[in-house]
C-alpha cells in the first residue's frame, strides 16, 4: 500500500490562469480519501494529474515516496474507475476484467483464477461470458470495479463512479466499495460532487473550490467545524444558514440580523473587531421553543415553506432579508403562514470573517451521542 503526496501542485492551461493551485496534501497508505467539490472545481483534473493523464505544471507529486511527475500512467502502480466505466464494448466481461493482466503478460491460468476470484467478490460470476451492452448499469459499474481490483494495484482512483446509478443502487455500492477497500487495504482516492458520498465513505475528505483546497479533515470534523462559509454551505443538507453579523465589542459579542446575540471570548473579539462578519447555524440546531426552555434567542417566525420527509420536517422562514431553514426530527404539523416560536441557541453559531472566510468562532455544545459498550439486553 502506497502513500501519495502532492507538494504545492498547480495546473494551468496555456500557461495562463491556474485552474488548480497550491495543493499540498499527503494521502496515507490504505486511506480512503475523498475529493469533493462543486462541478468545475478541479477535482477531476487533480485525480487525472495523480493518474498521469494530465501533466502537472507546477509542484511535485510523489507516489510511494518516489517522485512521479513524469511517470507514464502505467508506471504509477494504480488503477482507475471512470465515471462512464470505460468498458471495452467488444470484449466479454471476463476479457474486460483481465485486459490489464493480459497487457502485463500474466499467464492465462492465473488470469482466469484472479478474474473468478474478483467476479465472486462482486457477484459477477454468472455474467463473465456476456458483453457490456448486455448488462445493466449497476453490473457494468461492478465490472469496472472488478477491472480495477483485479490489477492488485496499491492505489485505486475513482472518478465519480456512482453518478450514473439510481439512488438505491448508489447507496448499496457505497457500502460495497467501502467494504472492498477495507478488505484489500488499498489506498483509495475518490472524486465525487455528492456530499453524502464524501461524508459516508471518506476516512478524510478534501473540499475543493475553484482549484483551491478549502479544508481537509475527517468528515465529522468538517461538518462540525467548517473552515469557511463555503465549506459550511457545501457540506450538510439543507445547508447551513449564513447571514451577515455585526461585531459589538461593548456587548462582548456579535449581533446577527440585529436581533440574535452571540457572545465571543476575548481572543475572538480581537479577531472580529472592525471586520465584516458572517454568522451561521445548522438547520438542525434551530430548536422548537417549548415552555421552560432556558435562556437563548427566542424569536417568532413565519413559515414560508414546509417539507415533511417522514422522519424529519424541514421548513423555511424569513429573518431579515434572508431565508433560513430549520430541520426538526419527527413529523411536525406546520403549515405555510404559521407563526412558529423558535430557539436560536447562541452556542451553536459559527462566526466567520467575511473577507478571508476564516472561522473565528467554533460552534460549541455539539452533542456527541454514544452507547454504552456493555451489553444491555
Amino acid at each position: 500500500m502506497k502513500k501519495v503526496e502532492l507538494i504545492d501542485v498547480s495546473k494551468s492551461y496555456d500557461k495562463q490562469v491556474d485552474v488548480i493551485s497550491n495543493i499540498d496534501v499527503t494521502i496515507e497508505p490504505g486511506e480512503f480519501f475523498v475529493l469533493v467539490g462543486p462541478s468545475g472545481c478541479g477535482k477531476s483534473t487533480m485525480l487525472r494529474m495523480i493518474a498521469g493523464l494530465e501533466e502537472i505544471t507546477g509542484g511535485i507529486i510523489e507516489i510511494g515516496g518516489k517522485r512521479a511527475n513524469h511517470l507514464s500512467p502505467d508506471k504509477r502502480d494504480l488503477s482507475m474507475v471512470f465515471q462512464n466505466y470505460a468498458l471495452y464494448p467488444h470484449l466479454t466481461v471476463q476479457q474486460n476484467i483481465t485486459f490489464g493482466l493480459d497487457v502485463k503478460k500474466v499467464k492465462k491460468a492465473v488470469q482466469a483464477e484472479r478474474a473468478n476470484e474478483v467476479a465472486e467478490m462482486l457477484g459477477l460470476t454468472g455474467y463473465l461470458k456476456r458483453k457490456p451492452r448486455e448488462l445493466s448499469g449497476g453490473q457494468r459499474q461492478r465490472v469496472a470495479l472488478a477491472r480495477a481490483i483485479v490489477s492488485e494495484a496499491p492505489i485505486c482512483l475513482m472518478d465519480e463512479p456512482l453518478s450514473n446509478l439510481d439512488a438505491k443502487l448508489r447507496a448499496h455500492m457505497r457500502m460495497e466499495i467501502r467494504r472492498i477497500q477495507r478488505k484489500l487495504g488499498i489506498t483509495m482516492i475518490y472524486v465525487t460532487h455528492d456530499q453524502v458520498e464524501a461524508m459516508t465513505m471518506g476516512d478524510r475528505i478534501m473540499i475543493l473550490h475553484e482549484g483551491k483546497i478549502q479544508q481537509v479533515g475527517k468528515p465529522i470534523d468538517i461538518y462540525n467545524y467548517p473552515a469557511n462559509p463555503f465549506v459550511a454551505t457545501f457540506i450538510g443538507s439543507p445547508p447551513m444558514n449564513i447571514c451577515p453579523a455585526r461585531a459589538e465589542p461593548t456587548k462582548s459579542g456579535v449581533f446577527v440580523e440585529d436581533t440574535i446575540h452571540v457572545p465571543l471570548n476575548e481572543e475572538q473579539l480581537v479577531a472580529s473587531s472592525a471586520r465584516s462578519l458572517l454568522a451561521g447555524i445548522r438547520p438542525e440546531h434551530i430548536k422548537p421553543l417549548v415552555s421552560g426552555t432556558e435562556s437563548g434567542n427566542r424569536i417568532q417566525v413565519v413559515v414560508t415553506n414546509v417539507e415533511i420527509l417522514g422522519n424529519e420536517t424541514v421548513f423555511s422562514f424569513q429573518i431579515g432579508q434572508r431565508e433560513w431553514m430549520a430541520k426538526w426530527s419527527g413529523q411536525w404539523d406546520i403549515a405555510i403562514g404559521d407563526h412558529v416560536p423558535i430557539l436560536l441557541s447562541s452556542e451553536y453559531f459559527c462566526v466567520f470573517d467575511e473577507e478571508t472566510g476564516e472561522l473565528i468562532r467554533k460552534p460549541e455544545g455539539l452533542e456527541h451521542l454514544s452507547i454504552a459498550k456493555e451489553v444491555i439486553l
Binding site: 500512467p73 502505467d74 462512464n84 490489464g100
Partner: protein, 272 residues
C-alpha cells in the same frame, strides 16, 4: 386493422414498382445474356430459351478468369491499403494531439475537392518513372490514401469515449496496441463500410487500369468488357451482357455479405 393492411399493400406495391425501375437495366442485361443476336434485334424482353451459349463464348473469347483474378487482386489490395492508411491517419487525427492537427486535417479533407482526373497525368508519370506500368502496385498504390475514408473513420473514432484510451494507458497499452486491440474492433462497422466502398470503386474503375495496362497480364474485367464491345464490327450484345453479368456477381455478393455485417451494430454499449 383494415387500414393498416391497405397501407401495407400500397407500400409494397410502391416498393415493387420502384425496385423494378431501379433494377430494370440489370434485369434486361440478364435477359439479353441468354438471347441470340436475332432475338435481341427483335427487341424482346424474355428470351425464347435460357441457353448458356453466350457465357461459353465470353470465356472463350477473353481470358475472363485471368481478368477476374486481376480485378480481385487489385481491388483487395486497394481495400486493404485504404483500410490501413485511412485508419492510421484517422487514429492520429483523433487520438494523438499535435500542433496544427486541425489545419492538417482541413488540408487533407480539401483534397476531396480536386477531381481525380486532374491528378491522373502526374500520377501516370510517377508510375511510369517507377517502371510500374503493367504491375499490380501501379494499379493499386495511387488509391491508398483516401481523404473520404479518413474522414469517415475519423467521425467514427470521435464517438469512441476518450476514457477508453485513458483506461488502456493506465493498463499500460502502447499507442499502437490500443489502436489494434481496441479501436479497430470497436470500429468494425465503419471499417466494413469503407472496405466495401473501396473494393467496389476499384472493381468498377475503368480509366486508370486502361491507362497503365498495355497487355492482358494485369488487365481488369472492366477493360475486358470494353474489349468485347469493340472487337468486331457489329457488337454481339448477348456476349457482352453475359460478361457484364459475370462481372457484377462478385460485387453483389460482397454487398450482401457486407450488409449483414453493417446491421450488426457492434458499437453499442460502450457507455453506461
Amino acid at each position: 386493422m383494415r387500414d393498416s393492411t391497405l397501407k401495407k399493400v400500397w407500400i409494397y406495391f410502391l416498393l415493387t414498382v420502384t425496385s423494378f425501375l431501379v433494377f430494370f437495366p440489370v434485369l434486361y442485361a440478364f435477359m439479353i445474356s441468354f438471347m441470340s443476336g436475332s432475338e435481341i434485334l427483335q427487341g424482346r424482353f424474355f428470351p425464347e430459351a435460357f441457353n448458356f451459349d453466350n457465357y461459353a463464348k465470353v470465356f472463350d473469347r477473353l481470358p475472363l478468369f485471368k481478368y477476374l483474378l486481376n480485378s480481385f487482386v487489385v481491388s483487395l489490395t486497394v481495400m486493404v491499403g485504404q483500410l490501413a492508411v485511412c485508419s492510421l491517419a484517422a487514429y492520429a487525427f483523433v487520438f494523438i494531439p499535435f500542433k496544427g492537427r486541425d489545419l492538417v486535417f482541413f488540408l487533407f479533407i480539401s483534397t476531396m475537392m480536386i477531381p481525380w482526373e486532374a491528378t491522373m497525368i502526374p500520377n501516370f508519370f510517377t508510375i511510369q518513372k517507377l517502371d510500374w506500368l503493367n504491375t499490380y502496385q501501379g494499379m493499386s498504390l495511387p488509391f491508398f490514401a483516401l481523404a473520404f475514408g479518413t474522414f469517415l473513420l475519423r467521425q467514427h473514432f470521435k464517438t469512441i469515449p476518450k476514457e477508453l484510451q485513458e483506461a488502456s494507458q493506465i493498463a499500460g497499452l502502447s499507442r499502437f496496441a490500443f489502436f489494434w486491440k481496441v479501436i479497430l474492433p470497436v470500429s468494425k462497422t465503419s471499417l466494413v463500410t469503407l472496405g466495401a466502398y473501396g473494393f467496389l470503386t476499384t472493381w468498377n474503375m475503368y480509366l486508370w487500369p486502361l491507362l497503365i495496362t498495355t497487355n492482358s497480364s494485369v488487365r481488369t474485367v472492366q477493360i475486358g468488357l470494353k474489349q468485347l464491345q469493340s472487337q468486331e464490327i457489329s457488337t454481339d450484345w448477348g456476349v457482352v451482357m453475359a460478361g457484364v453479368i459475370v462481372v457484377i456477381i462478385p460485387t453483389l455478393l460482397l454487398l450482401f455479405i457486407g450488409q449483414k455485417q453493417l446491421q450488426k451494430g457492434l458499437s453499442q454499449g460502450a457507455l453506461k
